[in-house]
Symmetry: D3
Subunit: 66 residues, 6 copies
């Protein structure tokens, strides 16, 4: 169990690989959520389109717009 307060269930929609970083676009309840993680993490986890995953975000990284 990890302390990160936000764990949003979603489905991988697309993956773009760079030399170092990768962009993973997920569908979370109809809203697009985008993660920029290392390419090695995509490979380590074997992330593929249509995978069921969770977007995990530490509370201190969340801002509010009103």
């Amino acid at each position: 169990m990890i302390s990160a307060r936000n764990q949003l269930p979603g489905t991988v929609k697309s993956i773009t690989l760079g030399a170092v970083m990768a962009e993973v676009v997920m569908d979370v309840g109809g809203t697009e959520v985008v993660a920029a993680i290392t390419r090695t993490s995509v490979e380590n986890l074997g992330i593929q389109v249509d995978d069921k995953v969770q977007a995990v975000i530490k509370a201190t990284e969340v801002m509010i717009q009103k």
Copy 2:
């Protein structure tokens, strides 16, 4: 318009105020999303329970769990 790729519409459910930081819990499509922002930001934006807001998160802050 801000470069942050993630802007999730939600409703404020609860606010806990500390001396410096505040915790704001939102409902985003049935999932709880938590933001730890400064108390002054809560006051500057006048954030209150039941407010319609957006949780804003930079893509580099999103991890994936699988």
Copy 3:
């Protein structure tokens, strides 16, 4: 209005595009400020050299050196 406490007005000096990430160098009152954002954000906002922009930073991301 966003909760991020730091919003520094500046001018875009250079943009370097990678496959996933982009580096945007700004001039903020004579000091260089650098942002690493996704390439897609640069494209979505149509960021170009000489644009007047704001560098936006959450207070929890700022350290102090003394």
Copy 4:
């Protein structure tokens, strides 16, 4: 020398101490910059009002608003 690309010279204007976190407001070339750091860091560095300091920010933490 640290890899953080952003090192903005400023002056401490106010310090608010909580039990765990502290908010330090700086003046950086006429613009307010706010850092939320641990209270222990404020004590370890002996940060006081009127100190000449640098606000240090990793490039991946900077967003752009246009």
Copy 5:
């Protein structure tokens, strides 16, 4: 399995609770590692002194000093 590249095994040495945030000091192979997480996370995970835990850090949050 989470995409965060850094997962450092350690032991909890002390916990300081604020109203919103908590500071958890760990011993990681003889080096002190400090986490500032929400008080609620400390309570949700039941973190106590002497617990065997992992300090988890996304690669994009790590700087290098040389």
Copy 6:
């Protein structure tokens, strides 16, 4: 002196350069620590394999897994 609470001594094991970002893998007391920093920072600091460095991490970026 910087406010970041975590400064872990290590040795650079490998460097992968992208157009914008770079991945630097370090050995910290037998555990692998990975930093994703800008390519320009690698060049500015002249980071090379076998360099003695410190991995620097702000406390608000550290999560706990139990």
